[in-house]
Each structure stands twice: as C-alpha cells, then as structure tokens.
C-alpha cells in the first residue's frame, strides 16, 4: 500500500480513536445528569443537585474536548479520503449532515442553557435542558453509528456513473446493521460513565473525603454499571456477534483467530496468532463454544480464514484478533466487578469493603480501553474494504496528497492532542480532588440555585 495511504489510515485511526475517548464519556455522563436532576427534583435533597453541578463541570470540559477533536473528523473524509468522498458522498454525507442538523445544534444550544441558565430560568428549564443535552449526545452517536453501519453493510444504494447514489433513504438510515451496533456502542458509553462515576466515588470513600457524595456516586455507578455491562453482553453483544457471523464471516474468522474451517469450533480465550503459519501459539480454548454462540448448535461448522481468498482477509489480523479479545475479556471482567459490587451494595457492605473500592477505583480507565478495542475490531475487521464489498481502502484515498504532507499533519495532531490530553487530565484531577458540594460552608443551600462554571 502507498505510504500516503498508510499514513492517512494511521491519521484517521489516531484522530478518531483519540476523539472517541471524550464522547463515550459524555454520552455516559449525559444519562447520569438526567438521573441526578430527576432525583433532585423528586427528593429535593440538595446533595443530588450539588452532584449534578460537579458532574456537569466534568461533562462540560469533556464535551469541549469532544467538540474540538470532533471537528477534524468531519473534515478528514475530504482531506485524506477524497476518492471515497466523491464515490459515496451521496449516501454517507446524508447522515453526517443530519448529525449537524439534528444533534449538534441541539446539544450546543441546550448545553449553554444547562451550564449557565439554572439560576436565571429555574429548575424545570434546567431539567429540560439536561434531557435535551442527553438526547442530543445520543442522537449524535446514532448518526455516526449509522454512517459506520453503512460502511460495514451498504444498503439502499444504486450504482451511478463513477459513484454510488442513494436509492432509498429509509433503508440507509435504518440499515439492519445499525440496531445492534448502536445498542452496543451506547451501552459501552454508559459503562464508561458508570465506571468513571463509581471509580471517583470509591476514591472519595477510600480517602475519607466527600464521603456522602462518594456513596451516591458509588451506588448510582454500580447499579447502572451492572445493567449496562449485562446489556453489553446480551442482547447487544450477542446480536453484534451473530450479525458479523452472517454478513462478514471473514471478519469473524479473523477476530476469533480461526484459521481453519471447523465443525464444533471452540472459542479462544488466550493465544497468539501466527499468520505466516496459520496457527495459534499457546492457545487456551473452550471447545465447541464458538459454534454454539454463533449458530446455537454445538457442532455447527464455522468458516475459518482458509475458506476465503487471501485478498479478502483483513490486513492486520493480529491487531484485530487482540482488539477483539481485549474487548470481550474486559467486558466479562466488567460484569464480574459490577456484579460483585452490587451484591455488596445490596448487603450494605460496599462502603466498608475496601478491597472492592480499590478495584472499582483502579478499574476506571478500562472501559475506555474496551470501547477503543471494540472500534478497532469493527474497523480493522472491515479491511481491506473501506465500503464492505464495494470499495477497497486503497481506492479511497486523496490522489494528490503526498505522504510528507500527511506525516506533517499527523505529527501536528499528535503534538496538539498530547497537550490537550495533559490539560484534560490536570483539570479532571483538580476538580476531582476538590470534590463536589459547597466550598464555602457559610453559603448553605444556596449552591443548588446556581450555575456551574464561570469565566
């Protein structure tokens, strides 16, 4: 592959992978903001509103990081993938433009209101603005997943002169691929939000600071976290897996590390793929499990990589294999952690069980890794196609772009994102250590009547 195409792939993977660290947290936290506001309005307990202000601040800074790293995504289809844009813009740009029209305007307008408007416009408008921000972030996610779903499974198009044309709007928007992928993506985001919340709560209780808030965060994070982790496995994960099996069997074979077609195929838990010799080193395998999970039949035949011509194989099988196994492995661990934590919460022992709190605190970054690995699985598994079955990645690049220019901007983004990441961590740590609630005790309950950030 041409070096400028390889660099453009790294460019896209780096900028989108980095970008998605932020929206997964905002999509998760948006749900918690609505829950906190509802709890406050229901109970009138000022701690819920103070928690809302605290998380609103973290949401705001994450949202801004998401916005500024998201703008480059909207541009990159054209800058680095011009042939792809001209070839399929008639279809995928429908969804990208809809994201702007239906999600971005909504989010930005109501976020301003949410952050600055509580004192002036009252609780009802504030609750409404939280709900609208939540809808906006989740709608934004929908349009992006719908765009990706079309690349995975193109439908509703007609072949025109040198390009694809949209033939059925509703088929494109409600592509059958969308539902499992969207559910899986959204519950992944809720997992990130839950672990973030529970992790900070665990820190407060462990450090004996802001303990009243720590308990609220723990309880909410653990309850929502277990629900989302279970939902991630079933139905959304199960549906996604079976969808891949039926529509992209070569991706399934590569991500499972199944080199040879096998009846009663097992699931690999651990093992290192050796592509050159088409085998796995040091495998630990659960016999027949893959056949059952895929076809609900213990002895069904699952196609291995040898059933497909070499030029249809994904081009980074080992990275794909590891991404998938990291995602699934972490997902399983999340269920165990949250299940155990909820059990302890139910038995009213969670806040005293320090080892569990340590686990919850240290688990905070792992959902980010699992979600990133999940996207790597989806997109590396789509290779060598840019649009599955229709356009190869090597045919989608910008023909006039030299590798030197791509490297220049890749390095530029790396530098700026390093700075951005450092600043983000400093701010979150600072806000986290300072904690929620009223920082001047004499102000009493006044906090609940005020906004969240100032300039």
């Amino acid at each position: 592959m041409d070096p400028s195409i390889i660099l453009s792939r790294i460019h896209f993977a780096f900028t989108i992978g980095y970008h998605y660290l932020f929206p997964q947290l905002t999509m998760g936290l948006a749900l918690f903001l609505v829950l906190l506001k509802a709890l406050y309005l229901h109970t009138r307990d000022a701690r819920y509103n103070a928690s809302l202000h605290f998380w609103g601040k973290i949401f705001a800074i994450t949202f801004i990081a998401g916005v500024v790293t998201g703008i480059p995504m909207e541009f990159q289809f054209g800058t680095n993938w011009a042939r792809f844009s001209a070839y399929s813009g008639d279809i995928i740009a429908q969804m990208l433009a809809m994201e702007g029209a239906f999600a971005f305007f909504l989010e930005s307008a109501f976020l301003g209101l949410f952050l600055f408007g509580e004192q002036a416009f009252g609780q009802k408008i504030h609750f409404l603005s939280a709900i609208m921000v939540w809808i906006g972030t989740w709608a934004s996610g929908f349009f992006i997943v719908a765009t990706d779903a079309w690349l995975q499974h193109p439908v509703g198009y007609a072949v025109g002169v040198g390009r694809l044309e949209i033939a059925d709007y509703w088929k494109v928007l409600f592509n059958p691929w969308v539902t499992p992928q969207y559910l899986h993506t959204i519950s992944g985001a809720v997992i990130t939000g839950s672990f973030f919340m529970a992790g900070l709560g665990a820190y407060y209780v462990l450090a004996r600071q802001h303990q009243a808030y720590g308990r609220i965060f723990l309880a909410m994070g653990v309850i929502v976290g277990l629900l989302a982790s279970l939902f991630q496995l079933w139905p959304s994960g199960d549906l996604s897996g079976r969808q891949v099996a039926s529509m992209q069997p070569v991706k399934l074979a590569a991500m499972e590390g199944l080199f040879v077609t096998e009846a009663g195929a097992g699931i690999v838990i651990i093992g290192q793929p050796d592509i050159a010799q088409s085998k796995l080193d040091n495998p630990i395998i659960v016999p027949r499990a893959l056949s059952f999970l895929t076809y609900r039949n213990w002895s069904a035949s699952v196609k291995g990589l040898n059933s497909f011509p070499r030029d249809q194989w994904p081009d980074s099988i080992d990275l794909l294999y590891y991404s998938y196994h990291i995602m699934v492995g972490l997902g399983t661990i999340f269920i165990a952690i949250m299940g155990l934590a909820l059990l302890l919460l139910w038995r009213k022992k969670l806040f005293e069980t320090r080892w569990m709190l340590w686990i919850l605190m240290l688990a905070t970054p792992f959902p980010f890794i699992a979600n990133t690995a999940g996207w790597f699985t989806a997109e590396l598994g789509r290779q060598p196609w840019l649009i599955f079955g229709l356009l190869r990645t090597s045919q989608g690049s910008s023909p006039v772009l030299s590798s030197g220019n791509v490297l220049f901007t890749l390095l530029g983004f790396m530098g700026i994102y390093l700075l951005l990441g450092l600043l983000y961590v400093v701010l979150i740590v600072y806000d986290g250590l300072r904690g929620p609630g009223i920082h001047q005790p004499d102000q009493g309950d006044k906090d609940s009547e005020q906004g969240m950030i100032g300039y």
Partner: protein
C-alpha cells in the same frame, strides 16, 4: 438545476450564518488584549461569548456536512486540495476553544496570560485564514481534468500564476480584509454586551476597525475585479443581483451612522448586513460555479459537483426541519442570554 441552485444558496446562507455568528466571537478574540485591560474585563469578554461560541461554531461543522452532502465532488476536491490550510484551521480552532474554556479555571497570572494570548492569536489567525480561503475560492484553484488539485501554502505570491499557492498578494489582501471586518464586527458585539470602560474601548476599536474596513473593502473590490472577471460577468448577466453589494454598502454606512449615534445594537446589525452583503455578492457573482479553476474548463459547477436528484430532494425535507429547529434553539438561547454582562456573571458560581 433548480434543486442544485436551492442547495447552493442554502449552503451559502449557512456559511453566512457561520461568519456572522462565529465572526463576532472571533472578533471578540481579536480585540481581547486591546479592549480588555485587566482580568475582570477579560472575563467579561469571555462571558459575553461564553454561552454561545460553541453553538456558533456548529454552523461551520453543519455547513461542511451539508456541503459534503449536496456537493460531494466539491467537498472531495476542495478539502483535499486545501489540505494544509484546513488542518491549520483545525489546530487553531482547537487551541482557541481550549483557551476560552481553560483561561479562567486557574488564577495564576501566567496561566491566564498564556491563554489570553492564545485566544487572541487563534482568533486573529483564523480570521486571516478564513479570508484567505475565500480569496482562494474567488481567485480559482489549479484543478486538473480529473478534478484534483493540491495547493502548497505559497508559491510565487502571484494570483495569476499557473500554480498558485494558498497565500498570494490577493488572498492575503482578502485575509487582511476579513481580519479588520471581524475586528469591527466583534467590537460592535462587545459594545452591545458591556458597559463602562470596556464599552468605551470597544466602541473606539469599532471605529478604527470601520475605517480600516472601508479602505480594505475598496482595495479588495478593485483587486477582485482584475483577479476574477467572472464575478463582474455574473452581475452583468443578472443585474438584479446588485442588491447584494448595495446591502453591503448600506451595512457599512449604517455601522458608522449608528455607532456614532450610540446605537450599539443597530450598529452590530448593520455590520451583520455588511458581511452578509459581501458574502452573498461573492456567491451570486460566482454562481453557477462553485470552485473556479485556473483553466476555466475544469471549473466545478453546481451541475458537475452535485449529489443525485433523489438525494438532494430527500435532503431538502429533513434539512428544512432540522434548520427550523436550529433557528428556534438559537432564537431561544440568544433571547435567554440577552442583555449586557456584568461582573457578577463571571464569578465561578459554585461559591469558590
């Protein structure tokens, strides 16, 4: 062709919305260091744009998305051809956005000075780059037969070169004009939103900006006449389009008049009219071309760059709904945050 024409003007209007709205907060950044002398005044400037700046920026993303959707060939050709300046614009947008949000988070004076300067530099360079980008679209780009081009940042600084760069004397002139226009526009906005010394200084800057805008408007109009004859041809063919330059002229005169009369809000609306008139004049003059080529035969037009008929007509339905909602949200937000900002608004409101 009717559909393509509708989309051409819709996108032109979305870009106008972007320039009018983000234009005033870019302008606020351009005058940030000059108008606001102490920490309190700088916080007031940020508070004046705080609740709206990222919503304003959404118009850029939405316009880019809509451009991709309605004219995919134009999107593909121009975004890859303008690769370097677009990436630089993205970096500036990132740094500027971060500056606005982070500046007041810590009170260390060096921290604040750093972000104030970043906000100023980001806003200033963005205004110049946006202007230069417009200059490139007017002047034309070296498109080849397969509708590709790639422009380096500069070559020999001549707009008549066969291989022009992003920056030549013409596009730099338009960049400067954008800078002073947005300076005036932003100063008008800050005048509307503030009182006291800051207000006085903003009005003074608006007045200086006005004179600079007047001079540069004359210079760039004359230069455009020579650089892109197609614009004149467009107006000769459809003389009713003269209303757009007249709107710009009325806006320019109005800005001065109301500024002198102490009517800040009307002066701000007049600078909106000026910008709108200029941009619509450009769009009208270029129509039906969307990206002129150095060799006119390779130019992209609304017919050879557009999406399919079906796509364009379906899009018209959802886009109309979406944009009506957007206008409603914007009217709602601006109405809620109407009025002057005062020091009490800038306090970090959690009580610390």
């Amino acid at each position: 062709m009717l559909l393509q024409t509708i989309w051409f003007f819709m996108i032109a209007l979305m870009l106008c919305m972007y320039v009018l709205l983000d234009g005033f907060d870019l302008g606020a950044g351009i005058i940030h260091l000059l108008a606001a002398r102490d920490d309190q005044e700088r916080r007031l400037i940020l508070r004046a744009i705080g609740p709206v700046w990222d919503g304003n920026e959404v118009w850029l993303i939405a316009a880019a998305g809509t451009l991709f959707f309605a004219f995919p060939v134009l999107y593909a050709a121009s975004f890859s051809g303008f690769y370097l300046p677009l990436m630089i614009v993205l970096w500036l947008l990132i740094m500027r956005g971060v500056a606005i949000e982070l500046r007041s988070r810590f009170s260390h004076p060096l921290w604040r000075t750093f972000w104030d300067t970043t906000f100023f530099l980001g806003s200033t360079l963005l205004a110049i780059f946006f202007g230069a980008a417009l200059g490139n679209v007017i002047r034309g780009v070296p498109l080849d037969a397969s509708r590709n081009f790639f422009e380096p940042l500069w070559t020999n600084f001549s707009p008549f070169s066969a291989t022009p760069g992003i920056l030549d004397w013409y596009t730099s002139l338009i960049g400067l004009m954008a800078l002073v226009t947005l300076l005036m526009h932003g100063a008008n906005y800050i005048s509307v939103k503030t009182s006291g010394d800051l207000h006085v200084r903003a009005r003074y800057l608006a007045s200086i900006g006005w004179w600079a805008t007047l001079v540069l408007t004359i210079l760039s109009s004359v230069a455009t006449y020579f650089v892109q004859p197609q614009i004149k041809a467009g107006f000769t063919a459809r003389p009713w389009g003269e209303i757009f330059p007249l709107l710009a002229l009325a806006g320019l005169v109005g800005t001065r008049y109301w500024s002198h009369a102490g009517q800040d809000l009307l002066a701000f609306f007049a600078s909106c009219a000026f910008i709108l008139g200029l941009l619509l004049s450009t769009a009208f003059g270029l129509y039906p071309t969307v990206l002129p080529a150095v060799k006119p035969a390779y130019s992209l037009t609304i017919s050879n760059a557009s999406a399919s008929q079906y796509g364009l007509s379906v899009g018209l339905i959802w886009w109309s709904i979406g944009i009506l909602l957007a206008i409603f949200y914007f009217a709602f937000t601006y109405r809620l945050f109407w009025g002057k900002v005062n020091p009490a608004d800038t306090q970090e409101q959690l009580g610390h």
